[in-house]
């Protein structure tokens, strides 16, 4: 089977997964009491007739199964519904927010991979010495620290006390930066949320790298490589590291879904204008179509990341046979 038809088949199967997610989230959301009309009328004493008319115009007075069929039907033409609160089609809103989330996720992943793998290598190469203990302690601390708490602490340290990094948002308001200046501004805003969310994954990747490097270093082919008379650095780089990375690639795929859900909290803490923040706001305002839309789009994203991981895997491990 070719790699292309493999991708095609995986995508085709993903459609069913997304359908199941859609069904489950549609009904689960409705289990929570309240709807957008309650939210809009909150605090007032609205005219019952007006409320009923509003519900009728939004279609949320119909039986649940009918609403579901209409929603599912809309999905076939990529219509994710309309957000009454934002006065815009859901798909447009979510897609507009997507780049910010992707940027944050990519930044977190890059930070976690580079620092985690580097720490893991250091620990594995100095097994049992202080560097190893330091890395092990640091990674334990990293993934045990709640990321929202870490986020607040580093805001306090870098933004409030030291005042060297912006605490909130994605750009400095009212500065009107363009070009390189704009990129630098966004990068500065990225630092704190990236550390807040990425420290956890850094710890995870450090531990995985350390453990697999130690496992691989024990294998026969590493001994055979030493028997060739190559240098220790070549043994570690060409033979140990290259094979240890297989586990890291696998784990990156597994963590992807986790990472996307992690952005909800961190985007809220840092007012990052991404899909996570959007999901949080739509829960608060009972904006069900918008909430469902964020679920669906992030599900698709997670599935695509996992597919990408599997494809990367077929390149890094020649033994993996592409099969259905």
């Amino acid at each position: 089977m070719s790699r292309l038809s493999y991708i095609g088949e995986r995508l085709f199967r993903s459609v069913f997964v997304i359908f199941l997610i859609m069904v489950a989230s549609f009904f689960l959301i409705r289990l929570a009491p309240g709807d957008i009309v309650d939210f809009l009328m909150e605090g007032g004493s609205p005219d019952p007739e007006y409320v009923a008319a509003l519900r009728r115009s939004l279609g949320i007075d119909r039986p649940l199964w009918e609403q579901f069929l209409r929603y599912a039907g809309g999905l076939l033409s990529l219509d994710l519904g309309y957000s009454f609160r934002m006065q815009e089609p859901v798909l447009d809103i979510v897609l507009a927010r997507m780049p910010a989330t992707l940027l944050l996720a990519a930044s977190v992943l890059a930070f976690a991979l580079v620092s985690g793998v580097a720490l893991g290598i250091v620990a594995a190469r100095s097994l049992g010495r202080w560097q190893d203990s330091a890395v092990t302690a640091l990674s334990l601390l990293g993934y045990a620290t709640p990321n929202f708490w870490l986020g607040l602490m580093i805001v306090l340290l870098f933004a409030v006390w030291l005042d060297i990094l912006p605490p909130f948002g994605m750009t400095s308001i009212g500065m009107g930066y363009t070009g390189l200046a704009h990129a630098g501004d966004v990068a500065a805003h990225l630092v704190l949320p990236t550390i807040a969310l990425g420290t956890h994954y850094m710890g995870v990747f450090a531990r995985i790298t350390r453990a697999t490097m130690i496992d691989v270093a024990d294998m026969d082919f590493v001994k055979a490589a030493r028997a060739k008379g190559i240098t220790e650095a070549q043994v570690v780089w060409r033979h140990v590291f290259r094979n240890a990375m297989l586990a890291v690639v696998t784990y990156t795929g597994v963590q992807a879904g986790h990472l996307v859900s992690g952005t909800v909290l961190i985007e809220t803490v840092f007012s990052w204008p991404g899909v996570g923040r959007l999901a949080y706001d739509s829960i608060a305002s009972r904006d069900h179509p918008l909430l469902l839309g964020t679920f669906l789009v992030t599900s698709v994203l997670v599935i695509l990341i996992n597919l990408a991981t599997d494809i990367v895997y077929t390149f890094v491990d020649p033994r993996i046979e592409v099969k259905g």
Binding site: M1, S2, R3, M219, D220, F221, K223, A224, A225, R226, A227, K228, G229, I230, T231, E232, Q234, R238, H239, R242, N243, L246, V316, D317, P318, R319, E321, V322, K323
Partner: protein, 556 residues
Amino acid sequence: MSEGPDPGREPALLAVRDLAVRLPAGADRPFAIAGIGFEVARRETLCIVGETGSGKSVTAHAVMGLLPPTLAVTAGSIRFEGEEIRGAPAAAMRRLRGRRIGMIFQEASAALNPVRTIGDQVAEIIRAHERLPAEEVERRVLAGLAEVNLPDPRALAGSFPFRLSGGQQQRVMIAIALALAPALLIADEPTTALDVTTQAQILRLIGELQARRAMAVLFVTHDLGVVAEIADRIVVMRHGRIVEAGTADRILNAPAEDYTRRLIAAVPRFGGARPAPPARPPALAAAGLTKTFAGHAAGLFRRRPPVAALAGVSLAVAEGETLGIVGESGSGKSTLARCLMRLTPLDGGRFTIHGVPFSDLAAPALRHERHRIQMVFQDPYASLNPRQRVATIVTTGLAVQGVPAAEARRRAAEMLALVGLDPSAMERFPHEFSGGQRQRIAIARALVLEPQVLIADEAVSSLDVSVQAQVLALFAAIRDRLRLALIFITHDLLVAAQICDRVLVMRAGRVVEEGPAGEVFAAPRHPYTQALVAAIPGRDWLARDPTHSPARPRPE
């Protein structure tokens, strides 16, 4: 013990004196090797032979300077080409490794990096020691692969190790080890994981290259047959010490030490079979068994054709009889075992056990009847759950059959006694036992259900030869005592000859020859059986060995 210098020989290529390697604290003895000495002359083959834990591999790795950090050389000297290399600086050892001393390993599949191409791995050793233009490196890689008789070196150089057979992988390892024409090749059990015909080819290849390159070989093995085939001189090791050393002829045919004599006597050989047992009704009868596995993907665009693991196999085994199933890897013998156990569904064919149509039983009835046929697996380290006590391991099957706990424990204790284990074994965990003892536990687990048929799938293959002899004796004793029908699956023709009444020779899912064990091995009719018999290492020595008596192996 060290050999004295022999004035008639040229100076030794490798001279080891009083070498000691300490084991980490908490090991079963303080030293992995305790003061050993030997010499390897240019062009000669020295075999270090010993059982598990004898220190033979540690010796080989110590010479190469490749001991794991937990093992430290504490005393002695290793001189190579006149220079002391024990404790030599890392850079000096690196220049020696690969260039002057090459090494090959037991599992070639594990000794090749799975994610780098064959060509890359051969080129690596050349580049490590010589500055050459890329074309010259490539030319030498291809020449090296061609010299070990690998087909189509150019295509092979671009492929990854997992595409190669075990024999091809070991050829690649040899090409790597010999790429820079070292003066010494250290071979650590290089043929143990290979089929017997492949083993013969690899041994022949090493011999040819040794003669062509005027190279010395330090060959570590547990297999006295292999030793008889290739050794000029032999060092026998046990518990980290040298038991005796001398010329191959002297050690093999006139051993001075009792341990060596016992080792030689434990080697199974032809002629050990008992007289045919009286004809009895068949315990298991199978006809036309077939099983085909779908071909797995062979790359991005191809799919291998389906593999017929069983292509119409019929067999019968009587009460109290041992039927041997012999063949090389891929012959279908293990598939046959799993199908008879109903662990793998058959595609076609039927079999009965004492008249019960076992192959046709549906799930509930099958669970009820499973006790009729039991199995002992190859690896006693993998086949016992490490987190369960022996009592649980042995009684679980009885509990499934609805036997009350107290009764189950009583029967388990009885069975452990029958296989020669102390009753205190019940409360212990598998890791507290040796390989041979574990295999006894596995046998007890199978027998406690009072099976009518017992399948032993390579059940003695991973055991040392002396332990192997004891476990074989146990199988024979139990078979006779319980009138079991024993199906003994093995790749080792000598083991089959030792215990089997009749043998089936399998190849590619078919039975190519069948008959009484003595007849089949003494006068094989099928060309494949003839090739198998001809490939048995050391068969000439085994045939003429005068110290061996054809008596059954002694019990423990």
